[in-house]
């Protein structure tokens, strides 16, 4: 292979793509912010489809509004639709924040969202202080991960300094705070686990975005068009007082740097939280930051993980896994398998993101699930989202579901595959997927 990071697919189409739309990633990021109303600037099909896709995965209602562009916008642009959409959403649903994401359509005719917003604010002075986040997520640039990443960055840049008289000043905490920036490779269950680990060291986590309380699948919630649960608007104002910022997944590194530069607090990026060494790195960092010893509970979990590694080293060593996932998840799961002696036979990322920075024993390439099917023949296992079932079926290989969408297995959003206990669970799931 001459250039291992080149697109290996010489075809001009994607066959059974892995690549999801950035606007879907943007929706996900917005769903982790409390009181936010997400507004897709595009034709109404986009918002319906995204709601459907995410509902299928999370088994949750997905509030997402649309500027409902029509044929007139082809001539006049979507400017007026966007202004009207923001105004209607603000008036009708009274959100704390509006989060807008663009689409291939609006980016193609080059809608200037910033000027639309400022024009609206001139017409409607009452909306002057309404925080509106604008994320640029045309689906011809990158995949879900990039859309999520750009939206988190937009959230930070718009809200971190936002001052709103309606918001009480952040309360003084006794526990020191720490900022957590989880990437979209982490499930709501993972984020829950991550927060728990951080709290075990006596920190109060400020999690942006926080899907662990908005998309964790709990009842007793009245459905609403604005996000319920997730990061509080006040949390963004607490950033300057945080002791450090930890970002998870390489895609969150830039967001962490934004915080570091804005607030002069240390920032550390953890490309993975799955695996012994990856978890050790987090635990060591937390021990150093807190000046506390590693809690007994984590030592016990580590000891159980070690036992599992020893018990199954033979079976894990015999694995040949073909993996196709968005980059951060691909790297997390694959590097954990490498650590326990398994072989990675195929590593296909959904997009170019991070492909030059992260490395595995074999080259990581960009590819679709058609390519996965062509390449995975000699493997013992496929790890991919539910759409990988065709490849697995054709090759008669076991298929561990991971990523998004997972619609033909239950409980995926609740899964915890990070930390010592989560790594153990991932290895159990991997071995059990073999049947």
């Amino acid at each position: 292979m001459i250039n291992p990071t080149q697109e290996i697919n010489t075809r001009h189409y994607e066959g059974n793509p892995q690549k999801n739309s950035p606007a879907l990633g943007a929706t996900l990021a917005y769903l982790g912010v409390n009181g936010l109303l997400a507004l897709l600037h595009g034709s109404q099909g986009c918002s319906s489809f995204i709601r459907l896709q995410l509902s299928r995965h999370y088994k949750e209602p997905i509030p997402l509004n649309s500027t409902a562009l029509l044929e007139d916008s082809v001539i006049f642009g979507g400017w007026e639709h966007l202004k009207k959409g923001i105004a209607v959403a603000a008036d009708k649903y009274k959100p704390q924040i509006i989060g807008v994401m663009s689409t291939g359509l609006t980016e193609t005719y080059g809608d200037d969202m910033v000027s639309a917003l400022s024009s609206l604010r001139k017409e409607r002075p009452d909306l002057e202080n309404m925080p509106v986040v604008l994320a640029s997520t045309p689906d011809y640039m990158g995949s879900m991960q990039e859309g999520y990443q750009r939206t988190v960055e937009a959230l930070l840049m718009t809200l971190a300094g936002h001052s709103n008289s309606n918001i009480h000043s952040a309360p003084e905490d006794s526990a020191p705070s720490i900022v957590l920036l989880p990437g979209c490779h982490l499930t709501p269950g993972d984020v829950d686990e991550l927060k728990e680990v951080v709290m075990d060291f006596g920190f109060r986590p400020v999690t942006i975005p926080d899907l662990s309380i908005s998309l964790d699948g709990h009842a007793e919630l009245e459905a609403a068009p604005v996000v319920q649960g997730g990061t509080l608007l006040e949390d963004f104002q607490r950033l300057p007082k945080c002791k450090a910022c930890l970002s998870f997944g390489l895609s969150m590194e830039q967001a962490g740097e934004i915080i570091r530069q804005a607030h002069q607090i240390p920032h550390l990026n953890f490309p993975s939280l799955t695996g012994l060494a990856a978890t050790d790195a987090l635990v060591l960092t937390l021990a150093e930051l807190s000046g506390k010893p590693v809690p007994e509970k984590l030592l016990r979990q580590r000891s159980r993980l070690l036992d599992t590694l020893a018990d199954y080293h033979g079976q894990l060593g015999g694995l040949k896994a073909a993996i196709a996932l968005e980059m951060d998840l691909l790297y997390s799961l694959a590097s954990c398998l490498v650590e326990v002696g398994a072989e990675i036979s195929v590593a296909l990322s959904a997009s170019q993101a991070g492909i030059h920075q992260l490395s595995l024993p074999i080259p990581i390439e960009v590819g679709d699930l058609e390519t996965l099917e062509e390449r995975a023949g000699q493997s013992s296992l496929i790890i991919a989202n539910s759409n990988g079932r065709q490849a697995a079926g054709a090759l008669k290989l076991p298929h561990l579901r991971a990523g998004l969408p997972v619609f033909d297995r239950v409980g995926y959003p609740q899964k915890r595959w990070i930390g010592y206990e989560g790594t153990q669970q991932f290895l159990f799931d991997t071995l059990n997927s073999l049947g």
Binding site: H12, N16, S21, S55, K92, A223
Partner: protein, 475 residues
């Protein structure tokens, strides 16, 4: 409550729910909502109107109607979602239109092909890329009987000429290559997508294959997408009464079925909304008659069988009566089992196509009552057909917003809600039994004699699940 009281109560509910709107919006939305009332002749419901920007809607777009509904189930054609990755990905594998055949050989239904536009394609245009892709798929899948190109929003903006690419490729490979201009911004819902897809069939496919002889009992089924095997269940009945189903549009369909759709004695139409265009065209152009029918629940099945058989000779009618005689006792068993468990239970529906009206009879067969119904993308004539099928006091809502529907459900307190996956989790969280009535919630078929027992069991399972009883905390 008396019927009058019910009507009045529900009218008040409508007013209460609309109260949240500013005056102009209230006036607009009030036209889309009605309560059936003997005093209001016709109870006009406004439909097929634009959705307001900034609102949460269940509607799809033209692409969804053309690719997701009409073209997707044509199994031996490679469908290219032309544009960026999103549209194709979103719509991939959502509809449960079953198809037989070897995947990748003569069945491409589970595949998604996308031209995956990059920024450069937006800037320089995608026609060349499309041409290469058509080369590649024809090469890789020599058994494919044709190629369809379904254009996405940006394609319509950048001035690509997919029609001429399609024409060139079609000539080169001597294979139908069908351009479908279904950009999502066209029209106000998926409905225009159906129309565009029908027109593409008319212009590029119908009557263009090698013709076949028409047997005396040859018929086609139009507008059955074989969700969960529905079309197979319908076909079974029709063949048992002596007819020969040579086409299904479009569920488990082949390109040949589209080419020869007019070569039948009769076209039976189930989903009028999505396929009436082409049915009418075949009648006008080729004189092929069409007839609407409804295979949901034994009452409607009986009516439809008799109406269909009446179009043919006595031998068919005799068989039809035998079929009814054979299956009705079985259906009665189903009713005897489930009716006691479901009697008097109420349902609210919000779906698309034909179901908001067609399925009412099946619920009534089980002793249940539809107290609210509405369409995502209906036209005037759909409501005209619907209202007679409903009881006094039934709430009717067109393009209902997520918020409105939740409020209606909270106030009318049905025992069951039937809508899509986007709505499912909203209502289940409220502790309300719910069935997905687009996809049959991974179950089906619901059509025909085969489907009714499954329908009855599913409704019972939802409504009578002990889950709803345990949900209240003991503290």
């Amino acid at each position: 409550m008396s019927t009058r009281e019910i009507v009045d109560f529900r009218k008040q509910v409508v007013e209460d729910v609309l109260e949240v709107y500013p005056e102009k919006a209230k006036k607009n939305r009030r036209q889309h909502i009605a309560v059936k009332d003997s005093e209001c002749a016709g109870c006009a419901v406004k439909s097929n109107a634009k959705t307001v920007p900034g609102i949460m809607t269940a509607r799809g777009c033209a692409y969804a109607g053309a690719k997701g509904v009409v073209w997707g189930p044509v199994k031996d054609v490679v469908h290219i979602s032309h544009g960026p990755v999103g549209c194709g990905y979103y719509s991939w594998g959502n509809r449960r239109n079953l198809a037989e055949g070897e995947i990748g050989v003569d069945n491409f239904v589970p595949f998604l092909f996308t031209s995956d536009f990059q920024e450069s394609d937006i800037i320089y245009g995608g026609d060349k890329k499309l041409e290469k892709i058509i080369h590649e798929v024809v090469d890789l899948f020599p058994n494919a009987k044709g190629v369809s190109v379904l254009s996405e929003c940006p394609v319509g903006l950048i001035g690509d000429d997919i029609e001429s690419v399609a024409r060139r490729m079609s000539e080169k490979f001597e294979l139908p290559v069908v351009p479908v201009r279904c950009e999502g911004f066209r029209g106000i819902s998926q409905s225009l997508g159906h129309h565009i897809a029908n027109d593409a069939i008319r212009d590029h496919v119908l009557g263009k294959g090698s013709a076949r002889d028409v047997g005396p009992y040859d018929i086609g089924i139009i507008g059955d997408y074989n969700i969960g095997g529905d079309a197979w269940a319908s076909k079974k009945i029709l063949e048992e009464i002596g007819l020969k189903v040579v086409n299904i549009w479009t569920g488990d369909s082949t390109l040949e079925m589209l080419q020869n759709g007019h070569l039948v004695k009769l076209n039976l139409i189930h989903c009028f909304r999505s396929m009436n265009y082409i049915a009418k065209y075949m009648e006008e152009t080729y004189g092929t008659p069409w007839l609407e029918f409804n295979f949901f629940g034994p009452t409607k099945i009986r009516e439809s069988i008799l109406k269909i058989a009446a179009q043919f000779d006595n031998s068919i009618m005799e068989k039809a009566l035998k079929v009814i005689e054979k299956y009705e006792p079985l259906m009665q068993n189903v009713i005897d089992t489930y009716r006691p468990r479901l009697e008097g239970k109420s349902v609210m529906l919000y779906v698309g196509g034909l179901r908001p009206r067609h399925i009412v009879g099946a619920y009534e067969d089980l002793g249940m009552e539809v107290i609210g119904t509405g369409y995502e993308f209906a036209h005037k004539e759909d409501y005209e057909k619907t209202i007679p099928a409903l009881k006094e006091g039934t709430l009717i809502y067109d393009d209902v917003t997520a918020l409105e529907l939740e409020e209606f459900v909270k106030k009318l307190k049905p025992d069951l809600v039937g809508s899509g996956i986007k709505e499912k989790y909203v209502f289940e969280k409220m502790g309300l039994p719910f069935r997905q009535m687009h996809s049959w919630d991974y179950s089906g078929p619901y059509h025909g004699y085969e489907g009714f027992p499954i329908f009855a069991r599913d409704m019972d399972m939802a409504i009578n699940s002990p889950t709803w009883k345990v949900i209240k905390a003991p503290w």
